[in-house]
């Protein structure tokens, strides 16, 4: 299997030796939650020298979904909520979808938005449209299918987020201290590596698009060290087996046909201009916000949760006073503890 090649132990240790020659502190943010999980799964922090600081970024789609999305749904009845599994334990202000299911809400876990379409043949069904560029094309395509089949019982609650504006917002915040980015593999397969050219151009920062195996991640770290040493920040693509400079044009078209850019609220990060996608007017009958008059205006509860600072890389999860005290996977206060991809959950599971 191809992925086994990218787990080769000799090569991993050669890469680690090369990284160990660099003695300066370097702060690298992995934007994507799947990278966070891979770093934990392979315990890469234990193998890296202490001057290599890996910071987990805002790239977990469940984490950044605001509580209002959950709040708007939990009191609905006589409608089926179809969702990806890890939304189930995301805390709203009045409990989770899992709690609401126990209290009578019809919540179904699906693996694909197409499964939700099947449910909508029988019941009024709302699919919770979360995710980044990786997940969005499939959901957009599903809306076009519902349109073609004239499936009036199907709708999507759009809570989509797009990555580049979030990175921009992050870097415009004065508190962030980052030397380079490990850029998402899957998201980049859709949007292409060119989508990050603003990083060197506007912020004088480099980034490497990379895959999810140990050799991918360690290669990216090596490339970022080289950039740092040569003082030549740029966008490089280690994941050429999957990602092209322009990305997947068909998938981009599928998105643009159905969805349009709009401002969006990110849990922990707040309001970010042009960082989300809503449903175009032509497909309005499939927009659950419109159809059920859902209130998704955002009110952030003041719980003491420092998820925003974790997502910005200002603190690591254990530096939050709630971490492992009042906030645990059994009783998550913030979203970063909920999702298996969340920074706090990954720390709780792998790094304590």
């Amino acid at each position: 299997m191809l992925n086994k090649m990218f787990q080769n132990n000799d090569l991993v240790h050669k890469l680690l030796n090369r990284i160990a020659r660099y003695k300066e502190d370097i702060r690298i943010m992995e934007v994507c939650g799947s990278h966070t999980m891979a770093i934990g799964k392979w315990a890469l922090r234990k193998l890296l020298p202490p001057n290599i600081h890996l910071i987990s970024g805002p790239g977990c789609p469940v984490c950044v979904t605001p509580p209002s999305i959950i709040d708007s749904l939990i009191n609905l009845r006589s409608v089926t909520i179809a969702t990806f599994g890890d939304m189930l334990r995301l805390p709203g202000n009045n409990g989770t979808l899992e709690d609401a299911r126990a209290a009578g809400l019809d919540v179904r876990i699906v693996y694909s938005p197409l499964d939700a379409l099947k449910l909508a043949k029988k019941n009024e069904t709302i699919f919770i449209g979360i995710g980044f560029e990786t997940t969005i094309p499939g959901i957009a395509h599903t809306i076009t299918l519902a349109h073609k089949q004239n499936l009036s019982r199907f709708s999507v609650l759009p809570a989509f987020k797009i990555i580049p504006p979030a990175l921009k917002a992050l870097l415009n915040s004065t508190e962030v201290n980052i030397d380079g980015f490990i850029l998402p593999g899957n998201v980049s397969a859709i949007i292409g590596s060119n989508a990050y050219e603003f990083l060197p151009r506007e912020f004088d920062l480099g980034g490497v698009v990379t895959g999810f195996e140990p050799i991918d991640i360690l290669s990216a770290i090596n490339m970022l060290i080289d950039q740092q040493q040569n003082n030549s920040p740029k966008i490089e693509n280690e994941y050429q087996r999957v990602v092209s400079p322009a990305g997947n044009i068909n998938a981009q078209q599928a998105i643009n046909q159905v969805l349009q850019v709009q401002d969006s609220w990110w849990r922990g990060l707040g309001y970010i201009p042009a960082s989300g996608l809503g449903i175009r007017d032509e497909f309005r009958q499939f927009d659950a916000i419109h159809k059920y008059n859902l209130d998704i205006s955002d009110q952030q509860p003041d719980t003491g949760c420092q998820c925003g600072d974790v997502l910005k890389g200002i603190i690591t999860p254990p530096q939050c006073p709630l971490f492992d005290h009042t906030c645990t996977p059994a009783n998550p206060i913030g979203p970063c503890m909920v999702s298996s991809e969340g920074s706090c959950a990954a720390y709780y599971k792998y790094e304590r």
Partner: protein
Amino acid sequence: MPLIINMKDNIITLAHGSGARLTQKLISSVFASTFQMEELSDSFRIEPGLVVTTDAHVIKPIFFPGGNIGKLAVTGTVNDVAVSGAVPAYLLAAFIIEEGFPISDLQKIVTSMQHAAQEAGVKIIAGDTKVVEKHNAEGIYITTTGIGYLPDDIHLSTQMIKPDDQIIVNNYIGDHTIAIINSRDQLGLQPPPLSDCAPLNHLIQAMLKASKVHFIRDATRGGVATILNEVYDDCGLGIIIDESTLPIRNSTLAVSELLGMEPLYMANEGVIVSFVPAQYYDLLSVMGASKYGENSAIIGKVTNEVKGVYLKTPLGSLRPLPMLNADPLPRIC
């Protein structure tokens, strides 16, 4: 601080039935404290030489590749008795059936129960049947109670576990969960993966005859990782599992990567985790001679080097393998 309403503390959610941390919490806070039970066990030695255990079986779908709820109800309870070291002898079975359930399906289920009981060498001796109104249950639920005889010289307990004990599993990890997910959620894997659902009492008896064994547990809900954590909680000895030695099918690895689920946390119905003194290195060949032990492997060891349960990755790095709070959820993308 504003109030965070956490309904989990007030009502039962599915997480309470996952076999992970929340299940333990429920058992200790509601059942064990009220019934004044000394330990949270699913089997009990009612008098010297006599062990009883009980298990309720609910599964969706009722029929799945490699078995059905009836076979599961027999093998699950047989295995619960067998891992205590006892020889299972009798089963009692109680059925809760939904109005409208086809009798032909019931017959298939009961026939499988009989086949599994014959293979295990146990007799089903008594039972009960209740029918509930349509929609008040989903198809059929079966509770089985097992009775077994425990030989005088067998003492399996987490307190027997010593540093340097080797940790052995008898079979591929995760097959049952993959079979159920594929069948329930129509993932369309071809050929459909089979559940490992099987009576393991003959294998366990062969192991006990051939070797000294300190402790055995069947890795059902919560999977192998949960068992290891329960053992650590009980005996306080550290555990290191070597990831490269784990018997896991490539197909299981591929599906679990896709769904973001770890095989070590997946429920099995034909996997036991055994703690065996290091000198009994030839036990693997004894296990390998059994139908349900062909894929046996030493997956790790008990050690004072660490506190807690750790996994050594193929790169040589150690990461914690904690107990989960609830079933892992399939994740987005």
